[in-house]
């Protein structure tokens, strides 16, 4: 049981790392790992302390694998392609819009959070890591929340001003399945079935 977990996790992670290298995404991947590292470490420690070292390592690796899958997906799939794909399979437009808009505005919010952090640090408020930073969290969270609400209002007004909500499809891009998509879907299904067989046989 444990062996199959190890084999499956290490194989999956190995394949994912090869994909990262093949797609020349090693630099953003390292940056992503810096952020995910803390969560993986926490997950590993909790599982280790609650159960044993093996469970801890497996739990950490599992979270890392899931993280890398999401990283690869969002690095290789622009939000508008995802939105168009979801529309094609029947999702309503407001749903796909909310999904893709949230993805697109994450970098904007990160930039705003950095500006706020700089503004507060320049006033002598120590918004840094550690316990002291947590004590001063309202200085970061307050302006960020207010700005996000305001931003959402402005975005809604801008969208309405540009005709959001008018019925009928108005996209130039029409997604189609290409040979590479068929290959990826087939390989993914084979991997999924193999994994299920490993698990239940």
């Amino acid at each position: 049981m444990t062996f199959s977990h190890w084999a499956f996790l290490t194989t999956s992670l190995g394949i994912l790392i090869i994909l990262v290298l093949f797609l020349q995404l090693s630099r953003p991947w390292f940056n992503f790992l810096k952020g995910l590292g803390f969560a993986v470490l926490t997950f590993f420690l909790i599982a280790w302390l609650a159960f044993d070292l093996t469970t801890g390592i497996i739990s950490g690796l599992r979270l890392l694998t899931i993280g890398v899958v999401f990283f690869l997906f969002f690095q290789t799939t622009p939000p508008e392609i995802l939105s168009n794909g979801l529309l094609k399979i029947g999702f309503p437009y407001p749903f796909t819009f909310v999904l893709t808009a949230s993805m697109q505005f994450i970098p904007v919010l990160i930039r705003r959070a950095r500006n706020i952090r700089d503004a507060q640090r320049a006033r002598g408020i120590p918004i840094e890591g550690g316990l002291r930073g947590i004590l001063h969290l309202p200085a970061l969270a307050g302006p960020l929340l207010i700005q996000s609400f305001k931003f959402a209002d402005e975005l809604a007004e801008a969208m309405e001003a540009r005709g959001f909500g008018i019925s009928g499809r108005r996209f130039r891009y029409e997604p189609h399945f290409k040979w590479i998509d068929w290959i990826v879907v087939t390989v993914s299904l084979i991997v999924l079935i193999t994994a299920l067989l490993f698990k239940f046989m």
Binding site: N115, A119, R121, A122, I125, P138, A139
Partner: protein, 339 residues
Amino acid sequence: MDRTIIFHQGRSVADGPPHQVLAGDISNFGINHPPLLRLFRDFGLKTMVFDVEKAIEELKAQNILTPFYHHLLRQSSDSFNTLTETTHPVVELENLWFNYDGTPLLCGIDLKLQRGESVALLGRNGAGKTTLIKHLNGLIKPQKGRVRIFGSDTRKKTVSELSRHVSLVWQNPNDQIFRPTVREEVLTGPKIFHSYDPLWCDGLFNRFGLHPFLNRSPFALSEGQKKRVSFAAALSIKPDLIVLDEPTAGQDEPFRRELTSYLHQLREEGQTIIFVTHDLEFAAEHADRWLILSDGKIIADGPPDTVMEQTTAMSKAGLRPTQRFQLIQAMKRFMEGKN
């Protein structure tokens, strides 16, 4: 422009051709007259002029070009301080380099600012102005070279230690507001640094017209009022160096006037001020020294009129000389031609 409409308190108060609308008393509506018109009004002339050529023609027609020229020159020599270099500069940048993601943003900047100087930092967007000012309170540490503030190397000081002496007023006041009342927002700095001076802070509340709002939420204020709050908050710790990022951006004339008078007072008290701006009229009014930053380098450094004469640097930074400077140059050319 064919037509100008002025809105004030929810209704249109003036509507007509620009020369007709601007001829009236528009300062009550928070709008300033165009620069040339202001210069003419200061000299007691009622003629409507909007461009330099027309102004020259008008001055020639009234035969007052020479007295007007000397009046303008006198104004320029009155407004600027000449500071001698001291051994202890307030700010000292030594071969400062900074790269972001492989793109050089600052390339070997050398700069010294003396106590009491008022400096305008000019340049196109992306020229490195914000990166430079973030070095002054340690938000960015030099990758190569050295930054000294009052003799201390910023690499050896924390942002909190530096921000006790260097106050930065950001372009967007919403980035800093988080306290439930205006009073608490302004007094955040003095509480952190244990430097609360009731008399000084009360003076700031008065100066920025904050008394009626002291117990109100800063979030409920207008953008102009929030800007006042952020100025008062920055000055509440009695900083030794004030750095202003685009202080006049999006602000109306009354706020500009208040800021003008406050900066004037601070300069008279010997305060060192650095401001980033795209507003050359404001920069010419308040700075003893202009610095033009382009592609991470200082390409012009000197008194405003000297910098405006450097046409290559000005055009590289996408800047046009002020109308006052253009007028003086045009008058000079005319008088030289006449002689």
